[in-house]
């Protein structure tokens, strides 16, 4: 939780200094913060907080999509992104309203979101190698964001895929252990966000 708060505060503090293309990242950290706090509060009250996940998933994908659109300058991505985001949002709404209700995991939404984010990261890595404009990767904010996203979503993919199966078939302790990994991955991701927000981009 501390690292998520740290990312949100970093986004707020660095807003003025950030270039336009990175402000979506700051918006993302500020978008996540109240949802995480609300989710954590509900968890402490032993209430189900899974109804927040569709909002989180759609918001995160939209903001990451806008972030990559501003940084990739790809005509194909710019054209496809509104349609992809609209289709994904429609799917999330339909999937959330249908089925067993909002108190269960939605592996389909999570896996699809993970694959779309990994796809955008792959596009960024391809651009990085094709254009060779970045001289020093450690001073490139988008490299940190992409590295965090690759590590997070590659690790999270299987957790998302088996989330409902784990919840219904295995013990609470086992579930806590598995979600502990997700927390570790989230710490890595948000540390990368903080890094990206604080480093001075190379000119």
């Amino acid at each position: 939780m501390a690292v998520i708060i740290g990312a949100g505060v970093s986004g707020l503090l660095r807003w003025r200094q950030l270039p336009g293309s990175l402000r979506y990242l700051a918006v993302l950290t500020l978008f996540e913060l109240p949802l995480e706090l609300l989710g954590f509060g509900l968890l402490l009250l032993k209430r189900n907080n899974l109804f927040l996940m569709p909002i989180y998933t759609v918001g995160e994908l939209v903001l990451l999509g806008l972030l990559y659109k501003r940084n990739l300058h790809s005509v194909a991505l710019t054209r496809a992104l509104p349609w992809v985001l609209a289709a994904f949002t429609a799917y999330v709404v339909a999937d959330s309203l249908a089925g067993p209700g909002l108190h269960w995991f939605r592996p389909g939404q999570q896996v699809l979101q993970s694959l779309l984010v990994l796809g955008m990261v792959a596009l960024y890595f391809r651009k990085l190698l094709n254009e060779l404009r970045v001289r020093s990767l450690e001073r490139e904010p988008m490299f940190w964001v992409s590295t965090g996203l690759v590590i997070y979503f590659l690790g999270y993919l299987q957790i998302a895929l088996f989330s409902n199966y784990l919840l219904s078939h295995y013990s609470s302790q086992f579930n806590i252990n598995v979600w502990g990994i997700q927390v570790l991955l989230s710490i890595v991701l948000h540390s990368c966000y903080i890094m990206a927000l604080w480093i001075r981009p190379q000119k």
Binding site: F125, L128, L129, L132, V134, R135, L137, T147, V150, I151, L154, G155, L157, Q158, I159, F162, H169, Y170, S171, F174, N177, V178, I181
Partner: protein
């Protein structure tokens, strides 16, 4: 269907997650290493290009200096001394009797005539007016005629040039040809014939200069050129680059030298 035991599923799940994380880590590590390597290669390429540009620039400046030196020498030794002699003779006219003065006037006229001829020659070598007036084919013909008159090496010219290219391109081709002929006259020992060909086809133009002289070892020349200068060849390369053309040279000891310049021209409509 029975569920797998927790311990088995946990192991499989954790191995799966670990494998994915390892793959992600390796991907990022590969990206960092590969990007650095590509950057190094790009920097090496830029350095080589900059070095080459520097060499070309040096060659251009060197060629200019050589040309200025030649013009200065021609002016001083040729036209300058001719005019000085004429001035001296004109000075003597005042002291001579009418008959002798008439003879001396004829001599002065001859000397001044030679000076005019020298000025024309110098002017032509600086800028071939015939190229401007009549085009590349005529200029090459004139160049070949002058070479045949003044040199023992026969120049045989073959021209198939129907659609003139831009004047700047013609000038560059003319200079290349002039330099190649000059090189052959200077270096092609034992050569008896120099064939010059200008061939135009549907999409391009080919300039060929070929002698039957002593030839040389192309590979050996490449290694010695960096240290020994070779301003003439480098000035040819500059012009070839300017024309966006290709330069190729074939030679071997005892087998003469064949130089080709091939450039693309817009297709004939």
């Amino acid at each position: 269907m029975d569920s797998p035991t927790e311990i088995n599923f946990a192991t499989l799940l954790f191995i799966g997650i670990g494998f994915m994380l390892l793959a992600g880590g390796l991907l990022v590590a590969f990206l960092i290493v590969y990007q650095k390597r590509l950057l190094r290669q790009q920097q090496q390429l830029h350095r080589a290009e900059a070095e080459y540009q520097q060499q070309l620039l040096s060659a251009v400046i060197e060629a200019q200096e050589i040309e200025r030196e030649r013009i200065g020498r021609d002016l001083h030794d040729g036209i300058g001394s001719t005019l000085a002699t004429a001035k001296l003779l004109v000075g003597r006219l005042e002291t001579l009797a009418t008959g002798e003065a008439a003879n001396l006037t004829i001599t002065v006229k001859e000397i001044l005539g030679n000076a005019v001829h020298d000025v024309r020659g110098l002017s032509h070598s600086l800028y071939p007016a015939v190229l401007d007036r009549f085009g590349l084919a005529e200029a090459l013909q004139h160049l070949a005629d002058v070479c045949n008159e003044t040199n023992t090496l026969d120049v045989e010219l073959t021209i198939d040039y129907q659609r003139p290219v831009a004047l700047q391109q013609e000038l560059a081709l003319y200079r290349i040809c002039q330099e190649l002929i000059h090189n052959a006259q200077k270096h092609a020992q034992g050569a008896t014939l120099l064939q010059v060909g200008l061939q135009q086809h549907s999409t391009g133009l080919q300039l060929r200069v070929e002698d039957n002289g002593c030839g040389f070892d192309v590979a050996a020349l490449e290694t010695t050129r960096a240290t020994s200068g070779g301003a003439g060849l480098r000035s040819i390369e500059v012009r070839v680059q300017m024309l966006r053309a290709r330069l190729s040279q074939q030679s071997a000891p005892g087998q003469g030298t064949r130089t080709l310049v091939e450039m693309e021209t817009p297709a004939f409509a």
